[in-house]
């Protein structure tokens, strides 16, 4: 069984540039999460989906960040105008049933904003 797949692995941007991250969850997992992990901290939830629906995006900076999962499978997280404070690893995770199930992570995208 394939794991959670993310791309790209690394991204380096200048402030003000846009970037998109892509995630393919484990087949059959209906719940998909995007986490932000700043250096030397634990992952912090940005947004999560059940199928194609956003369940909670209250931690997503809505002025510059957006996330979609149009067919309830793959997902894209986009930063419109990156800031230096966005420098972090962006992790995608998936699980079945959205709770009370093990969470599996992709390897992450390491973003540096200069």
């Amino acid at each position: 069984e394939a794991g959670v797949t993310q791309s790209p692995r690394y991204a380096v941007l200048q402030e003000g540039q846009a970037v998109s991250f892509w995630c393919d969850p484990i087949s059959g997992h209906d719940t998909l999460y995007w986490y932000q992990q700043p250096r030397d901290q634990g992952p912090q939830l940005l947004v999560y989906f059940r199928d194609e629906a956003v369940i909670d995006n209250s931690q997503l900076p809505s002025d510059r960040f957006s996330a979609v999962r149009p067919k309830g499978t793959n997902s894209t997280l986009k930063i419109q105008s990156a800031k230096q404070g966005d420098t972090a690893t962006y992790l995608c995770a998936s699980s079945r049933t959205g709770g009370y199930e093990r969470l599996f992570f992709g390897h992450g995208t390491k973003l540096s904003v200069l």
Partner: protein, 109 residues
């Protein structure tokens, strides 16, 4: 304050020794998961716990929901156990996992 507080923040061990990591919760945690993040950044799920204990090889974990804590015991530490260990709790009524800040473990030969 921290809803999920991990201790210690860092730990160094000699190969072959034992250690215990701890998480204290200030939320009503219903389930706990433990993860190991390797130096390349990949997070591996070690345990999913409801109140009780689980064991897998040299690892053993316990979750006491009444006393609001969880522990991870590593027996006979090996070099490949090095990395950052995170615990994460699912709060009652929520499907979100709240992560601690991690314990950075270094196993030395």
């Amino acid at each position: 304050g921290d809803k999920v507080k991990q201790s210690p923040s860092a730990l160094s061990l000699q190969e072959g020794t034992n250690s215990a990591l701890r998480c204290n919760f200030s939320i009503a945690a219903t389930t706990v998961q433990w993860f190991l993040q390797n130096p390349r950044g990949s997070l591996m799920n070690l345990f999913y716990l409801v109140p009780g204990t689980k064991e897998n090889g040299r690892l053993k974990s316990a979750f006491d929901s009444k006393e609001s804590y969880s522990t991870l015991h590593i027996r006979d530490a090996q070099l490949e156990d090095s990395g950052t260990y995170f615990c994460a709790a699912e709060a009652f009524g929520s499907w979100q996992l709240i992560f601690g800040s991690g314990t950075q473990l270094t196993v030395m030969p």
